[in-house]
Each structure stands twice: as structure tokens, then as C-alpha cells.
């Protein structure tokens, strides 16, 4: 196994072009586990740790450009206001040691349906910046996950950053595990209210072959909120609407029975999380609306 250590992004792209089978490694929290257990033995490891830019983030007017290697700890500590959903999801990643090493780039590269960042990324409507010697492109998160542990990247591409819209409304993230900390997801749910566009976006983890959005649930809710004038009035969402939203979120799942949980439980739990997180975000939205009106 050869260990490639590019000193710059350009060198990294060149190395990846020359060795498309090279496995990029940053925090190593996924890759090293696989190597230690001999589950994979890549010909080349491409170490990205010398490329400082990958661990930087930039808060712009509308978006946050999050370097692929920015650690979950950094996200929790620095981007809670701009990326509340992702910050909540980051807090559920493994242990403090792993959160100090791992970043969103790894979750995206591995593209496991159990990756904790995915539901929040889907709900945010972000874009993934990938690049190769051939050029740079932005992949909308909706197009990123293409199969079980497969993403839309070409073999010569590397993930440089994720461009996330700054939260324009409340966001939430919930994850079920059979332990109260340091646990892999049985299933997870992310939600983001987007008052500016009067839309709602969601993300579901570990309940389908890939991370997915609950598209029907989103559309239903957006329509219900719109028709009822809820965005303007800030009135409580009727339980019937929340219930329907939860059912549709459940319906968006396509889970399996495995050692971590039954398919039936996953569907059930996603519905509960959808209802609860909707409640929390909407309460928060109402609270903000009220204080805005008072001011």
C-alpha cells in the first residue's frame, strides 16, 4: 500500500488523476477502521491532512463554505447559528475523539446510509463541491447519493467542500440508537424550515439504501402551511397536519431488518421523529415570529 502525501490541493488532484483507485483519507475515522479490520486494502492511500484549506470554513452572506475536513467538533463549536441542523447532527457523531477527527467529507465519501451528517445535509439543500484535473463541479445534495455506499463522484474527483445555505429558519435533527451516546444510527431524521422560500426540506438516514428526502411529506407540509396561511399567522400546526406529515415521512422509508433494528421499527420511529422535530422547529419559528412582531 502506497501512502501519497500531497502538499497542496493541486498535487492531490494530480495524484488522484494518476491513481484513480487511491482512497482519500483525512480524519481516518472510516477508512482506518476498514483497513484495521482488513475489510479493504487499497493500493494507494491519499492523505489530505497537509491541505490546510480543507479544514477551513467561510461564512458568506448566503452560504457557508465548509471545507471537507472541518471536524464535527469545529462545526458544533463554531457554526451552530449558521448550520443548526448539521451542528445537532455533529453532536451525535460517535465520541469526542472521533468528532475531533471526522468531518463531513468523510461521510459524503463513504456515503453510508448511516452517516450522521446526511439527513442534515439533505434538509439544508446544500451542494457538494468536487474537483478533478478536468475541472470543478457542484453536485446538488439531492443528486449525490446514488446507491448503497455509492455517490455521484467520478474516480478522479475529490471532495473539496460543501456549500450550505445559511439557515433561514429553524432546523432540527434526531437520531435513534439503542444507547444514549456514541451509537450508530438505527434511523435518523433531519428537518429544515425555509421561511424565505416557504418550503420545508427533510432528510432520512439509515432507513433506505441511501439517505433520502421525504419528498411527499415536504410537499404536503409546504402546501398545508401555505394554504392555511401558517407562515404569516404563526399559528400552531394542527395535529392532523403533523400526523399526515409523519405518516408521509414514514412512507418515504424503504428500510431493511438488520441487527440494529427492524424495518417496521424504523418506519415507526422516523414517523415519530418527523412529528416531533416538526413540532420543535415550528414552535421555534412561531417564537421568532412573535418576538419579531413585538420588536
Amino acid at each position: 500500500m502506497d501512502f501519497l502525501r500531497p502538499a497542496s490541493w493541486e498535487e492531490a488532484l494530480a495524484a488522484k488523476a494518476e491513481h484513480p483507485t487511491a482512497v482519500p483519507i483525512a480524519g481516518g475515522t472510516d477508512v482506518m477502521v476498514e483497513i484495521n479490520f482488513d475489510h479493504r486494502r487499497p493500493e494507494y492511500l491519499l492523505d489530505l491532512n497537509r491541505i490546510g484549506d480543507l479544514s477551513e470554513w467561510e461564512v458568506g452572506e448566503k452560504t457557508v463554505r465548509l471545507g471537507a475536513s472541518v471536524s464535527y467538533t469545529k462545526i458544533m463549536e463554531n457554526l451552530r447559528a449558521e448550520l443548526p441542523g448539521l451542528a445537532l447532527a455533529s453532536h451525535t457523531v460517535a465520541s469526542p475523539q472521533i468528532r475531533n477527527r471526522g468531518g463531513v467529507g468523510g461521510n459524503l465519501g463513504t456515503a453510508s446510509p448511516a452517516g450522521d451528517a446526511h439527513p442534515a445535509l439533505l434538509a439544508s439543500g446544500c451542494e457538494v463541491e468536487v474537483e478533478s484535473l478536468r475541472g470543478r463541479r457542484m453536485i446538488p445534495i439531492d443528486d449525490f447519493y446514488v446507491g448503497v455506499k455509492r455517490n455521484a463522484m467520478e474516480p478522479d474527483e475529490l471532495i473539496r467542500s460543501v456549500h450550505l445555505p445559511k439557515a433561514d429558519g429553524p432546523q432540527q435533527f434526531s437520531k435513534v440508537g439503542t444507547r444514549n451516546a456514541m451509537v450508530i444510527a438505527v434511523c435518523a431524521f433531519g428537518i429544515a424550515l425555509h421561511p424565505e422560500t416557504r418550503t420545508v426540506r427533510t432528510g432520512i438516514g439509515s432507513a433506505a439504501p441511501t439517505p433520502v428526502r421525504a419528498k411527499e411529506a415536504e410537499d404536503f407540509l409546504a402546501a398545508a402551511l401555505d394554504e392555511g396561511g401558517f407562515w404569516e399567522s404563526g399559528s400552531p400546526i394542527p395535529p392532523s397536519v403533523a400526523k399526515q406529515f409523519a405518516q408521509l415521512a414514514s412512507g418515504a422509508c424503504n428500510p431493511i431488518d438488520d441487527v440494529r433494528g427492524s424495518a417496521k421499527y424504523r418506519r415507526h420511529a422516523v414517523g415519530i421523529m418527523a412529528r416531533r422535530t416538526l413540532g420543535w422547529t415550528w414552535e421555534s419559528y412561531r417564537g421568532n415570529e412573535r418576538s419579531a412582531q413585538c420588536a
Partner: protein, 804 residues
């Protein structure tokens, strides 16, 4: 070479927050909370575990394990592995050097390497030694094994079917004569009184069928050791184990060496909990070392560790209890079916415990009990903290709650009404002849203040998810959360039972070094984290009046200490250390009498003690300094010590004085359940336990909290999941075999009782296991209380709580 660091005598005593009686006058003697010599090293990561050992020129051993659970081996082709550069040896069954090719704790039914057949997933088939662990792993992967799969035995029905394939053919062990089928390892019935008659007096009868999942010891230091060939043709083995001499007895015959040529030294042990009673890599490393003439180290990774040791027996338990309407238990019938897996390990003794303790700490005169262990193609099961008593306690405590509910009596009161006490006759006919404060323990936990409600609101600003079910996963801010409270109490035996010669040996030396009297304590006791090294030094200080005590590393150059199991080491090896110290003290006093007897009449007439480095009378008068008594003489004795003998249980009636001592603990669990998501947060697990005498109060509280947490684990998360269709383990990793984190571990207030057992050294009671028993049923009772669900299986999964 790095080995186990020599444990040093602790010098800084620390008081435990619990108010326990102080020990003798000697500083850091018994009753004091002296600190562990290995504590700081372990916390700072500097402690040398057995996996940290290194030897110049050493090779790495690798085990190749079966990928199927039950199959004939048609062929093994090792040629490609042998041809791999860096490989020094590849061994299979055909390379075993003597006629002895099996080992086992009681029944030698476990092949060192599989012969013609594998009986469970992960069974060792071949060994490789190479100059790099990676090379060894890759070479092992090149060994080609042709399997022809056989039908699987996975449960009682498939095991005992008339045409069932036999897991072991041609059994000739001493249990085969009294079992109904060769796929049953051992059966122990206990019949006492007349259940049919007593049943007629019952106003209410409750029945239940309970399932206990397969728990793993999940010790943090995986199996590892280093075998170094010696010039005399023997081998030095440095290993993390629970009982050096039991290992030795099994290793030497397979190697074809006399026991004195297999010299074993305990190296740093990272926990055991029963999982190191059976051999793992010991023989394998020795075989490779003797074959290659080089030191060989074997370290399992976590994945292999799940296959490298036995687990807690999963069990099905069928219970019937009756009671009169005024709350008196009339009778009990039960049948306990333990899945022993492919090899016997400790199954026979686990059967003995499960049956003899199946009534629990209650008075029931009329009982009809049967416990069996099966041979199946599931992973082998054997010793784990609580040893058969855990499974029974889970079931009988659920029954107690059902009875209390049916009778409309408070569950604690109902238990107290039927609680055993000193003088109660066990179902085996054995009288309980030391304190059995069952009702008092229950009274104490019930009287403890309850934790405040809705603690997640305490922070003020939103919900503190750490105090809620789901914790940091942020699944509820209080929605769906219901509190429940549950109680349980249990009984565990202490020491090896059923007539086993359960002795220990201690060698103690006393001499003057640098002008100070020093005691050296040498035993073969395996320090696996229980704190024996601390306690031995305390005993030596108390008995010999010295400050400086050296604990010699445990090895086989001294007689057997027995196993660090069955809550027995403080009792038995502690007893042996005390006994040898007493004889050493007598010898020292004899020297004193010889030298100074003529100067003071008290040497002949008074009761003499050793205190503060001096010989003193029981009235406190100083007769001499130990330094002057001993001068350049050293007193050294090695003595065996035994507790009261026990008897075998009758094979038909189960009668017999089978146990040494009993240990009791009671728990109150307070849980909060997210009833919609089926997630549980244990808020508090209060424990009251009688320890007889707390030799080290801080360690006592630590043991109780640890046992309590291990019981919590199997209540809500811990289970090795075996696929019934393939008998393969589905979750051999810490990603999918979950153990409690600190956020899952509740506050554990501990109330320690010290009612002396006059038969035991210092009146002490073995304490390590009892808290593991009642913790699990208390949590289950609390979850039932919160949800109203019946919950007959542990661990409880979200699916069980949500009907999904």
C-alpha cells in the same frame, strides 16, 4: 521485556464517602480504602497490559477460525500459507505433538484445533506464526479449507429430537449417564416437599416464560499473551487469565510437557468477568513457540475476541408460582434451559447454580426444579459474572411482581413477607447459617429518597437531552416520557460449590530491609481488576503490623490460588493470606520469645500482636521492635487454606450442602421510558448489599457499581445476536454489541451493610456478583411499571416497547 509492572504497596489511604467502620490500628490495614496501585496507570494509559508485551525477535501468531457453524472438514491445504515469505510455521490438528488434543475446564471436549469437524462459528482450525502480524493474517487467509455443512442444532427442540445429529459423538464424561439425550450436557433436578399438595393451598397461581439473551463479558483488554521457549525445552507463558493453575493443568498435557516446564506469569489483565476462565490463545502460542523456537505473541482484535471466549448462557425459563391470598408463597415449579453452545466449558456448574438458586432469596418449602444445559452449534457459553444465578433472578423477580400485582400487595412488601433469613432451609436442604438480611436490604432501598422528576428541565433553558431517553441523539424533549420504578433482590453463592476442593495458597515472607520490617505476599491470584492486590497488602499490614508490603507478581512458582471467579478471591485467597500471615506471626513471636522471653513475663503469658512494627501485648504494652526480633532472619511460609467443604447435589433430588456462602443485594431502579420510540434512560439504580465486612470500602462500592452497570447493560442493550438459520454471530463488534457508556450509567447510590459471617475470614462476604443479579430485573420491573407491558425477554429492545 515489558511485563506486568510489579504492583507497589499503596501508601495513601482514602476514605470512601460511605460511612463504614474503620479497621484496626495499623495504617492502611483492612477496613481502609487504600488506593489501587494500578489505578493511576490505567487511567493515564501507562499500565502495561498483556497485549503490550514485546520480545526481541518475536513472531506473531494468528488463528484461522471456521466460517461456518457446523461442518465436516474435508481437507485443509496450507501450502500457500507456508510459502508466504515471513511465515515460520502453519499448524493444524495433525501437528499436535501428543495424544492429548483436547482441553476443557471440567470436560475435555474442546479441540485445540478442529479435527475433521467444526461445531461452531469461529472455531480455531489452523495457526500461523509470521514475523509480522499482517503477514500472519494474510497467510492464514490463504489456507484453504473444504467444508461440507451439517445440519444445525440451535435450540432445545433441534437438540433433543430423537433423530438429532449429535454435537459430540461417543461422550464418556461423567454426566452422560444421567441426561436424557447426548445433546444435553448436564441436568440437575431439585425436588423438595410436595408441589402437588402445596399447589392446592394456592389462591393465585402465576406462570411465565422468560428469555435471557446471550451477554458478552466485553472486557476491554482482548485475549493476548506471549510464549517464550526456554532452554530446557519448556516454555514461559505470560498471559492475561483468571486462573493460572487451571490453565497450566490444561496446557501442559497438550504440549507433552511436565507442568514444571510450563512456567506461567500473569501479565496485565484488562477485565475478565468469567470470560478468561477458559483457555483462548494459551496453547496456540505455546505450540507455535515450541515449533519455531522463537517467542510468539498472539493478540486478538475485538472481532476475534467475540469468538475467543465463552459468553453468558442464553436461557429459556419456565416458572410457576403459587401464593395464598394473604401473600404467602405456596410452591414453585421451574424449568431452566441453558444453551451451552458447542463445548461444555462451565455449563455443568452453571446448571448447578441455576437450579440451586432458582427459588431466589425466598422461603418456599415445596419446589420442583429442573435445569439443563444443551450442546448446540451456537457459540460456546460458560462463566460470566453471576453464573446461572443471573438468568434465574431475572425470571423469579418478574414472577414476584406478577404475584404481588395479582394479590394487590405492594411488591416490596410481598417480597419481605416471603424473604429468607438466617436459618432458612434452601431447596437443596442446606440451612443458611449466616445473616441473610433480605427484608432489611429491601427496606433500605425503598427508604432511599427518589430522584427528582423531570430532571431535564433543571437547567432552565430548554430540555437537557442528556437527562432524557435518547440522550444526545435528541429524540425527545419530554414527549412520550413516562417514569417507572422497579425493585428486585437476588441471591448468589460465593466460592466453588458442589464438593469442589476450592483452596488457595499464600506464601508470605517477613524480613528486615533497610532497617524496616517488610512483608512480601506471593500468590497465584489473578488480579483482573477486582482489587485483590490492594486487599492482600491490607491483610498483611493488619496481621503483621508492617507498613511496607510487596505483592509478588502472580505466577505458577507458588501453589494455586484458585480462580478469580465466583466472588471468591477476597474470601479464599484473602483467607489464605490471612492464614499464612498468622503462622508467620507465630513464627516471628517464637523468635521473639527465644530472644527476649526472659526479659518480660508477658512474652509467655499475654496475647501478643504485631502493630506498628512492634510486638505489643493485647493491653498495648510494647515488648520489642520487629527489627530487633528479626535482625537478619527471614520468616517465610507457603500454606494452603480451605473454607468449609461442600457436597455434591444428589442427581435425583438435588439435596446436598452444596454452597459455601450466600451473598445478597437488592436494587431499586428508576427509569424514564420514551414510550413512543421505545428508548430507555435509567435515571437511578440504588443498591443495598450486605458485604459482611468491607475490607476496602472504596473497592466494595466500585464493585457494586460495576456489577450494577453490567446488569443494566443486559437489561437494555447487550446481546450477542446469533442467526438461528446459520448459527453465526451477527454483531461481533463494539459498533453493534453495545455496552453502557457513562451517559447510560445512572447515579448508583450504594448502601453497604456489614453483618459478619462467622465462618468467613474477618466475617467478609464475597461481593462481586450479587449486584449483577438484581440490577437487571429491577430495570425490567421499572420499564414494566412505566409502560404496562409484560416484557418477558431481556435485553429490552425498542421493538418490544413499540410493538414493531
Amino acid at each position: 521485556m515489558a511485563g506486568t509492572p510489579t504492583p507497589r504497596a499503596a501508601t495513601a489511604p482514602a476514605r470512601t464517602p460511605t460511612n463504614l467502620t474503620q479497621g484496626g490500628k495499623t495504617k492502611a490495614g483492612i477496613g481502609e480504602s487504600t488506593l489501587r496501585p494500578d489505578g493511576t496507570l490505567k487511567v493515564t494509559g501507562e499500565f502495561a497490559y498483556s497485549s503490550d508485551m514485546w520480545h526481541e525477535d518475536m513472531l506473531w501468531g494468528q488463528t484461522l477460525r471456521s466460517t461456518v457453524a457446523h461442518a465436516e472438514i474435508r481437507s485443509i491445504d496450507t501450502s500457500q500459507a507456508l510459502a508466504t515469505p515471513g511465515v515460520y510455521a502453519v499448524l493444524t490438528y495433525d501437528d499436535l505433538p501428543t495424544e492429548m488434543k483436547n482441553y476443557g475446564l471440567e470436560i475435555q471436549d474442546t479441540p485445540v484445533l478442529a479435527h475433521k469437524k467444526v461445531r461452531h462459528h469461529g472455531e480455531p482450525v489452523a495457526l500461523v506464526a509470521a514475523d509480522h502480524p499482517e503477514t500472519a493474517r494474510r497467510a492464514a487467509a490463504k489456507i484453504k479449507i473444504e467444508y461440507v455443512e451439517l445440519p444445525l442444532i440451535t435450540d432445545e427442540a433441534s437438540a433433543t429430537a430423537p433423530d438429532a445429529i449429535l454435537v459430540h459423538e461417543g461422550r464418556d464424561d461423567h454426566h452422560i449417564g444421567h441426561v436424557a439425550h447426548p445433546n444435553i450436557v448436564h441436568r440437575q433436578p431439585i425436588i423438595r416437599g410436595n408441589v402437588a399438595e402445596a399447589r392446592k393451598r394456592a389462591d393465585v397461581i402465576v406462570e411465565g416464560e422468560y428469555t435471557f439473551g446471550m451477554q458478552d463479558q466485553a472486557f476491554l483488554g482482548p485475549e493476548s499473551g506471549l510464549a517464550v521457549p526456554s532452554e530446557d525445552g519448556g516454555v514461559e507463558l505470560y498471559v492475561a487469565t483468571q486462573w493460572l493453575h487451571s490453565d497450566l493443568r490444561q496446557i501442559a498435557p497438550v504440549l507433552g510437557l511436565p507442568e514444571e516446564k510450563v512456567r506461567m506469569t500473569l501479565s496485565g489483565v484488562g477485565g475478565a468477568f468469567g470470560g478468561r476462565e477458559d483457555l483462548s490463545m494459551q496453547i496456540h502460542a505455546c505450540l507455535l513457540a515450541l515449533r519455531t523456537g522463537k517467542p510468539v505473541k498472539i493478540v486478538y482484535n475485538r472481532f476475534e475476541s467475540f469468538f475467543g471466549h465463552v459468553h453468558r448462557h442464553p436461557a429459556k425459563l419456565y416458572y410457576e408460582h403459587g401464593a395464598t391470598k394473604d401473600g404467602k408463597l405456596t410452591h414453585m415449579k421451574c424449568r431452566i434451559v441453558l444453551d451451552g453452545g458447542a463445548y461444555a466449558s462451565a455449563s455443568p456448574a452453571v446448571v448447578g447454580n441455576a437450579s440451586s438458586l432458582s427459588v431466589g432469596p425466598y422461603v418456599i418449602d415445596d419446589v420442583d426444579i429442573e435445569a439443563i444445559a444443551l450442546y448446540t452449534n451456537n457459540p460456546p457459553c460458560g462463566a460470566m459474572r453471576g453464573f446461572g444465578a443471573v438468568q434465574a433472578c431475572f425470571a423469579y423477580e418478574a414472577q414476584m411482581d406478577k404475584l404481588a400485582a395479582k394479590l394487590g400487595i405492594d411488591p416490596v412488601e410481598f417480597r419481605q413477607m416471603n424473604a429468607m433469613e438466617q436459618g432458612t432451609i434452601m431447596p437443596t436442604g442446606q440451612p443458611v447459617d449466616s445473616p441473610a438480611p433480605v427484608a432489611e436490604l429491601l427496606r433500605r432501598i425503598k427508604a432511599m429518597p427518589l430522584p427528582p422528576e423531570q430532571q431535564w428541565l433543571a437547567a432552565g433553558e430548554g430540555a437537557d437531552v442528556r437527562a432524557l431517553p435518547g440522550g444526545l441523539s435528541n429524540t425527545t424533549h419530554g414527549e412520550g416520557v413516562v417514569r417507572g420504578i422497579g425493585y428486585a433482590v437476588g441471591i448468589k453463592n460465593v466460592g466453588f460449590s458442589e464438593g469442589f476442593d476450592d483452596y488457595s495458597t499464600a506464601k508470605v515472607r517477613m524480613e528486615v530491609i533497610n532497617g524496616e520490617p517488610v512483608a512480601t505476599v506471593h500468590t497465584a491470584m489473578a488480579e483482573v481488576g477486582q482489587g485483590g492486590v490492594t486487599v492482600h497488602a491490607q491483610i498483611a499490614r493488619t496481621e503483621l503490623g508492617v507498613t511496607q508490603v510487596t505483592i509478588h507478581p502472580a505466577d505458577t512458582q507458588v501453589g494455586s490460588a484458585g480462580s478469580t471467579s465466583a466472588s471468591r478471591q477476597t474470601y479464599v485467597t484473602g483467607g489464605a493470606v490471612k492464614n499464612t500471615c498468622e503462622h508467620v506471626r507465630e513464627a516471628v513471636l517464637e523468635i521473639g520469645r527465644r530472644k527476649f522471653g526472659s526479659y518480660h513475663p508477658a512474652w509467655a503469658t499475654a496475647e501478643l500482636l504485631l502493630e506498628g512494627g512492634k510486638v505489643v501485648t493485647d493491653g498495648g504494652e510494647v515488648l520489642a521492635d520487629l527489627v530487633d526480633v528479626l535482625e537478619s532472619e527471614a520468616v517465610e511460609l507457603e500454606l494452603e487454606w480451605r473454607h468449609r467443604p461442600t457436597e455434591a447435589f444428589d442427581l435425583h433430588t438435588g439435596q446436598g450442602n452444596g454452597h459455601v456462602q450466600y451473598s445478597f443485594a437488592a436494587h431499586r431502579a428508576v427509569v424514564e421510558v420514551d414510550t413512543e420510540l421505545g428508548l430507555v434512560k435509567v435515571i437511578e439504580l440504588a443498591c443495598a448489599q450486605d458485604v459482611g465486612k468491607a475490607l476496602n470500602p472504596l473497592s466494595v462500592v466500585g464493585q457494586i457499581q460495576g456489577g450494577t452497570t453490567q446488569g443494566l447493560g443486559v437489561a437494555v442493550m447487550e446481546e450477542i445476536i446469533v442467526d438461528p438459520k446459520t448459527a453465526k454471530v451477527r454483531n461481533p463488534s463494539f459498533t453493534d454489541y453495545l455496552i453502557p457508556t457513562i451517559l447510560d450509567t445512572p447515579t448508583i447510590p450504594v448502601d453497604v451493610l456489614e453483618l459478619a459471617d462467622e465462618h468467613a475470614p474477618y466475617g467478609l462476604r464475597g461481593i462481586g456478583e450479587a449486584p449483577t443479579l438484581s440490577s437487571t430485573p429491577a430495570v425490567l420491573a421499572a420499564i414494566r411499571n412505566a409502560t404496562g407491558l409484560e416484557l418477558n425477554k431481556t435485553p429490552v429492545r425498542p421493538e418490544h416497547l413499540t410493538g414493531t
